[in-house]
Symmetry: C2
Subunit: 305 residues, 2 copies
């Protein structure tokens, strides 16, 4: 049974201090699906594009065992477009353009064969659409949700409804503080868990990620990088790696979830090494495993007996 992913597919114009790229493949569902594809196929994708969505991107997704029965291609619409500019400090980005286009009236339809999926990854998209997808699922076992400040500020009520049906929320540190109005992340995590998700992951960019599961806290390091070419999609790649690994291993214990966080972090590190989705296009699973071991070297320590 496939891992169901819903989210955006888009065409991005991105500029960083190092380079720029136009009409690049983007969108939360895209990054999640490509990232998850290294762990378990098929990925069932629910999303929408316009007729301008390049055929080569369709083929790229298909090559990664992404099932596109749930992808709506609207004849009279254009694909969602986003343009952003990163500064020398890559933590700061300006959004130059957001054109919803095909997303504007998107009504997600989950194909019959997707509805029995047990693992669902709700990528960053309007929480109303996340709810519509959940409503069509038969009996999902494990629901992972990603979101962003835009929905926390603009659609909080709908987002809270999603959270009540979510097993894992993945969010970054500033979003956690925004959602809870609590500056201390440990306290903030407690507040968020009361909103529904029994498991919470707080991403901290160059500082790694925190996992709150049952009564454990796990702190994953970030991969040390001298050069980040394009931060776009890092969070989505994390979500894809995390969910893909859990879907592959079918083990939802806190111990295995720690490994999933590290695999998510590994996929995010591959993502930002190249522009757009390039870092996720031609990986091999052996390289993913090597990077997992790099994370172990980075964080393991023990006293001599």
């Amino acid at each position: 049974m496939g891992l169901l992913v819903v989210g955006t597919l888009g065409l991005d114009n991105v500029s960083t201090p190092f380079d720029k790229i136009e009409n690049a493949l983007g969108g939360s569902a895209t990054y999640i699906a490509l990232s998850a594809s290294y762990f378990s196929g098929p990925v069932y994708l629910v999303g929408v594009v316009g007729k301008d969505f390049p055929e080569k991107y369709i083929r790229l997704l298909e090559q990664h065992d992404v099932d596109l029965e749930g992808l709506q291609i609207l004849e009279n619409e254009k694909t969602f477009r986003w343009a952003g500019k990163y500064h020398y400090d890559l933590n700061v980005r300006d959004t130059l353009l957001t054109e919803l286009n095909a997303l504007e009236n998107f009504d997600p339809i989950v194909p019959e064969k997707y509805r029995k999926s047990k693992f669902v990854c709700l990528g960053n998209i309007d929480p109303t659409l996340q709810l519509k997808v959940l409503d069509q699922m038969e009996s999902p076992r494990f629901i992972v949700c990603d979101t962003m400040n835009y929905w926390i500020e603009g659609k909080k009520e709908e987002l809270l409804q999603v959270l009540q049906r979510t097993n894992v929320l993945i969010i970054n540190d500033s979003e956690a503080r925004l959602l809870t109005k609590e500056p201390n992340l440990i306290k903030s995590a407690k507040v968020i868990k009361e909103m529904g998700p029994e498991i919470l992951i707080i991403k901290k960019g160059e500082h790694g990620a925190l996992l709150f599961a049952d009564d454990i806290i796990f702190s994953a390091p970030a991969y040390p990088m001298e050069m980040i070419y394009d931060p776009t999609g890092a969070g989505d790649s994390f979500a894809g790696g995390f969910t893909g690994y859990l879907h592959k291993t079918q083990d939802l214990s806190p111990e295995n979830m720690k490994c999933a966080v590290v695999y998510g972090s590994a996929m995010a590190s591959f993502c930002v090494e190249k522009f757009s989705t390039k870092g996720l296009e031609e990986l091999e699973y052996l390289r993913v495993q090597d990077r997992y071991r790099d994370f172990q070297k980075l964080s393991q320590f023990d006293e001599k007996e």
Copy 2:
């Protein structure tokens, strides 16, 4: 042979959103010495106070096996004073007062019996004074240096001289960026290692610490804390725990240095749990070891075979 510590001793007025305290024991040498005392005694302390320095603080240091032969008590001077106010976001602090007093004309004299010390911890103080101490040492094997933005901006040349004679620099992330004008910490670390220290530790507050030793990078997590009562002295406590553990084990391998970073982080976490030096005053080594194991639980992960 004792671990030699030089730095400031002071009387602090500190206010946080939770409480305030006046004439509290403070200063970099104080925190370093108390923290290191849990690992190996005696600590040889070089510093200066005025005649107003309370007798009870002298006794406290002596109770922690801190040798005070190197402490100058100046009859006609007052003790160094610092006053600061922390805000709800404890990363932000205002310095309300700095009175150098006895520090103003401090001429550090290293007592004869201290001069053979092999381990030296240069706490945060004017780098001119750090150099004067080093000049009096016979053949130190391992020199750890702490500093702050004030000296990076005001006495960079002298600081660079210290760094050329230093084995380990401990610095926080914003100071590393300030020292190198390089926003990326991994690149910044390379630049700093070219300034002299073969080992570098970058402290990142609530995000833990990075160790750069030989060709390894180690990422230590921060202890998850819901409440930080008083961040004063956290960095000094880290330096004391790090150096004290290495002095105790006499093992300067990168693997052991990772453990030292974790012990430093553990001591910093005890420090900030209470006001002033209270968190370091009545610990037991068993509790320090328990916290070390908490750090292991926080960061260790492994896939099932």
